[in-house]
Symmetry: C2
Subunit: 447 residues, 2 copies
């Protein structure tokens, strides 16, 4: 039997999505438990396949084409598989994002409108080379009732294929084809064209890669490109708090997208604040670049214009003095990436104006930008971080993989009764209640 | 001074959007009242410009290039302007969609997360030739705090220009450039490329036009293409109810996108149901096309395959017999447009399976598809109907023109405290509360 085409795989996923949307929470959770068990049961098989990937990567490492970090990310172990299985079980343990009544409104007597959370449908994912990404994305999609197209990094192709087959076998009770693996780069381009069949794309990877996806598809994209995050130290800042937050925002985990890349400092506190933070950054090995006014106070390298919009993702930061809070707001809106920015001030009014002026998914007052994260926000399993402004924004939980449908329960009502001469009036009355399909006709039959 | 380019207009709108997001509800409502007053005060001026558009359209009508319906839609009058002004006032009277605290969660002591509704930013709109569309779209955008790019039909260019100038002058207290008029067709193509500056597109017009927009931009699109809506008459239907609903769904306003285009009839009730509904449709002048089994029972034209996915938008309907409810579900998912579908049945369990199996924005039980509408749903001002599955779905109210930001109020917290050895634990406790910017620092200062 020849391998199905990407079109055939997506068409099968579309059919499966309609069935999967009707699976109960218990069925979806049982399938997740079954995936976790199968990963543990087949760990030797997975590790054998993974070894092939690692060996190939090591050959490329010797040729200087790969980094050690990439090889490390690729390598699985028994303990890593154990934690992947635990991750799948924790997704099973999350609250069900489906079947929630988001709104209930009585339109008229025996005419009730319900807004109900449902899966989106078919989600296309393209992700980095860590093989645990495949399992995580499949688990999040399944929990939220979505069919998923999985395209991993070619470096992890052997691991991904075995993991995919294990997932497929472990979920044989689910609608066939709910998860599909695609492997060729060309298949990604085919996927980007399928706006009639794929409802959402979730790319993960470099800024350039996510931008490429966004620029080459009409399918809605949930993803983040850059994290150029700022901390602004206001004239009314508690300067010891400011130093703590500025240090944490850069140093605690500099590779994260929510790490700060630029400190903006009000000119009235710059002379007091800069020497202290520069000392602390130097102790932690942070490279600093400042504008001319910063360099009048402390001895750091000169920042160039490109520094203000660079995501270093490393122990590097740029420093700039501003004359006012509004100047900081303008700088952030111009150079930032709408991700996360923070103001340090003891003045609530200043905080208010700053926070409402910044067009970023997350804006903080007296807290480190590093809090911008689904786990820390209490969203449960994190699907990703979105720098888009529609659908889901900022850290996205399982709810970001849902949409809604409107359901009406009626008793034969027609619109003609509500128009023309002497029309009935709508009631439009919100009420607390869960959608019970067939509630009204059911009660009528019982009478 | 030369006319600014589309790029310059959009850039000005982007700057204005940041300011407009900070305008209070009172400021936005005052500007809306001012627009309504100005439309009344300048009605002669508007009607003079409108006459030019109408005259040109009438010339094209004589040449057979326009329809009378188009000319009628174009023509304004004193009473029409009065109702446009009233529409603007009613938008002002809607609940404010902005500044709502959608979620409040305590992450830890003195560390509070708020999810707050905010404007989306810059909305690009391309709409049909009715000049009232310009005023309506500008009013909805302003109410929701969004800057707007307005592109109307060329048929209404004189009316649109005068209306735009009146709106611009009436809202001189708002950030300059919050509304922008573009006039050339080429400017639309420029707009479609500006995914860095335009946050949402709202096209209105023919299915072909909306599809063209969707296929040619990476900007999220809020709009609807087709409405191929179905009524399924189940074996357990109350047949007199079924006839009422099927009649209303087609006849009450056949040009609407939520009018039914196909009736699906369970084979066990077809012989009883078909003669009655065919009589009623014939009385109302509805043209009917049926499949072979329908034509065994009643005398109607033969349906072809294209009938099943055609939006007639007129007094035409296709009729088909199905062997089971699941066959109806499959037919609808295959041929429908994910808009609105209805089941008529007295069996609640059948309704439940049908409703959960249909992938449409609105699914009804024992009610006419014509209820699928923002006003009837009680959403207030209707922004449009969306057949997309992300962001907003189905009838969209002002909330569809908003997104959200996460705000954290802290007291200097850093992430390092919550990681490493002996980490603090998050509390993650939902609470009822409105975001008060600077609440925590404010209280500390007061102590």
């Amino acid at each position: 039997m020849s391998e199905p085409t990407t079109e055939e795989k997506v068409a099968e996923a579309e059919r499966a999505a309609l069935q999967l949307a009707q699976c109960s929470e218990a069925e979806r959770n049982a399938a997740l438990e079954s995936i976790a068990d199968a990963i543990e049961a087949h760990s030797d098989e997975i590790l054998t396949a993974n070894e092939e990937d690692v060996e190939e990567a090591e050959e490329l490492l010797e040729k200087g084409e790969y980094t050690q970090a990439l090889v490390d990310r690729l390598a699985l172990s028994h303990s890593k598989l154990e934690s992947i299985a635990e991750m799948v079980r924790s997704v099973a343990g999350q609250d069900d994002p489906l079947g929630k009544t988001l709104e209930a409104r009585r339109l008229d007597e025996d005419l009730e409108l319900y807004k109900q959370s449902v899966p989106i449908g078919v989600i296309g994912t393209v992700f980095e080379s860590r093989p645990d990404a495949l399992v995580q994305i499949a688990a999040l999609s399944l929990k939220s009732g979505n069919a998923v197209i999985l395209k991993g990094g070619s470096e992890a192709s052997e691991s991904n294929r075995v993991l995919y087959e294990i997932i497929e076998e472990a979920t044989s009770d689910l609608p066939t084809g709910w998860a599909q693996l695609i492997e060729a780069r060309a298949d990604v381009n085919a996927l980007l064209e399928m706006d009639d069949s794929v409802d959402l794309l979730m790319p993960r990877g470099s800024s350039e890669f996510v931008s490429y996806i966004q620029d080459n598809t009409s399918i809605p994209v949930l993803g983040h490109t850059e994290g150029v995050c700022h901390v602004y130290i206001d004239e009314d800042a508690d300067l010891s708090m400011a130093a703590e937050v500025a240090h944490d925002a850069k140093v605690q985990y500099p590779a994260a997208c929510n790490a700060a890349e630029t400190l903006l400092i009000h000119e009235s506190v710059a002379a007091n604040f800069l020497p202290e933070i520069v000392d602390r950054y130097e102790e932690s090995g942070v490279e600093m670049r400042g504008d001319a006014r910063v360099r009048d106070i402390v001895d750091v390298d000169a920042a160039t214009d490109t520094d203000w919009s660079t995501e270093y993702g490393d122990l590097e930061i740029s420093l700039k003095i501003v004359d006012s809070m509004p100047e900081a707001v303008d700088h952030i809106n111009e150079h930032g990436s709408k991700h996360t920015d923070s103001i340090i001030t003891q003045d609530g009014d200043t905080a208010s104006v700053f926070m409402q002026g910044i067009d970023s998914a997350s804006v903080f007052h007296n807290a480190s930008t590093r809090f911008s994260d689904g786990y820390r926000y209490g969203l449960g399993a994190e699907v990703g971080i979105s720098t888009g402004k529609t659908h889901a924004r900022g850290p996205v939980g399982l709810g970001g993989l849902t949409t809604y449908q409107y359901f009406i329960e009626g008793d034969g009502q027609i619109v003609a009764s509500y128009s023309g001469a002497n029309p009935r009036a709508f009631v439009h009355e919100e009420f607390d209640g869960e959608w019970t399909p067939g509630r009204l006709s059911g009660s009528r039959i019982e009478q």
